[in-house]
Amino acid sequence: MLAFLIQRVLQAIFVMFVVALIAFSLFHYVGDPVLNMLGQEATEADRDMLRSQLGLDQPVVVQFWQFIVNAAQFEFGISYRSARSVSELILERLPATLELATISAIFAVVMGIVLGIYTAIQRGNWLSKFIMTASLIGVSLPTFLIGILLIYLFAVELGWLPAFGRGEVVDLGWWNTGLLTGSGLRSLILPAITLGLFQLTLIMRLVRAEMLEVLRADYIKFARARGLSRRVVNLRHALKNTLIPVITIIGLQLGTIIAFAIITETVFQWPGVGALFITAVRFVDIPVMAAYLMMIALVFVIINLIVDLLYYAVDPRLRVQGGAK
């Protein structure tokens, strides 16, 4: 267990190192940061001063080390565009993205698993067929088009839900949340569905395929031969075996939710880090891009670690050492 954990953590550190290297290279080689920060009119002396202030006159290795040390302290310098601290910008917008991503993830996982089980068990009835066809369309459509469609239907035509923004937000000091107000919750519905829909269809198809596979297994037939009810066989035996391989992919899918939030946030003008990133890409705001990259990488790495641990918790074949095999 410990060896496994250490191995996984080392792997995670390696990925973070590579991403840091990329982020640093971005920062160092794409455009001239000094030129970007001071503009064309600054004098040579000004530039030299800023250069040494930023440590840009140091050897590259030292700069990279400094970059890592700073990144570890969540320090990514100043945004070229807004001249504000990048970490401040991100922290300010992180709650919006995390709330959206979390709600979407819960929606996608719960609905995905439930519909996946349903379509696997009730294979062949018209509702399952309908769900499967609908999911095919869902997978084929670009996320932003789904978002626009939902806005048009529920905000413009029906007027039930807000079309953009986060609604009223409560500031808790270290966190600002939209989950505590009615308008905040209502504003969350459409973006969360938009963001979750793609993952939902993916998870659903995966659960269904895996469940159909498991339902063919000998131990399922034997469980039925033992006289266990259909409910127990499907929801206790088949489901648990289905979920093990599904967990990995669901975990990775959750990571992509944060990335896909970029699109949803743009459609719904959601004030999160995704929208911040898009603006950064548009204006080549390298520090923000680098910071966002590091943040996403961290999220992915953490999710991967959690997935590995979950695997361990669910599958006794990994958990229990020894035994006759």
């Binding site: 455009g31 670009p142 996320t143 088009l145 626009i148 970029i262 699109i263 548009r282």
Partner: protein, 319 residues
Amino acid sequence: MSQHAERGDVVVPARPGRLRTFLDSDIVYSWKQQPVVIVATLVTLVMFAGALFAPWITPQNPFDPRQIDLIDAFTPPLTTSDFTGTFYLLGSDSQGRDVFSAILYGSRISLLVGFAAVLFALVLGTLLGLSAGFRGGWRDALIMRVADVQLTFPSILMALLIFGVIRGFLPRSMHAEVAIIVLIVAIGLSDWVQYARAVRGATMVEKSKEYVQAARVIGLPDRKILVQHILPNVMRPVLVIGTIGLALAIIAEATLSFLGVGMPATQPSLGTLIRVGQDYMFSGEWWILLFPGVALLMLALSVNLLGDWLRDVLNPKLR
């Protein structure tokens, strides 16, 4: 059986024509069996044709300012303008641009970027995969590690990042001009990994086969072995990935343009048109958004269905 083999003058049955063989194949049979696939094929063909022949079909060139009349702005669909007497099938936008023409020209760009990006990814991925699989060693290790790290991130994020980086190297004034090339490279670069992995696997299988070993023993140069023996054998999985890749590339292009980091409004793709049209969703000019949206929807859906079907027919194992 053995009797036949002994006879020298076995009558060879008249060889059916190529078209005949094709029409009898499993692919055509499977195609005829699925009405959804037939519809998808028709829609795809119509949209491809519309995009290809846009200059001859459309009433105006929406990119040419001289052909556009600002006074016709916001003409509803199926209406003849009171000012210029021009008929607008799908209405006009805020610039007085014919939406129908804009959609056809937009699909042209969407498809161009889609095809070019897939080609880029395919060539790059195949070359890297061949190199990794055939040479092995540090090349293999390096290429596959890079692929692993890149696979950790969704390709749309990679495309965004690459797009941003390429822009960083270019002077700002050039951004709009080279947008289409930057887009192709960004999407292509974000998508080479799958090809490289498939090609590497196939190459390693092929490399270990005896005929390749024999070719090496008789001193055939590596280049020749790669091109003549290995490449033909790895093309099938590559083409299968490519068919799915086209739908993904079209969606990626539309998404980037929608996000405002793809094609500029002066040279709109379907994604750009949707982004621009979104502003008029609330003010009642629904056609500016709806028609490009439907066009993208049909294109993405039918190409996707077609790709899925082709993948299943060509290689059921790849599922």
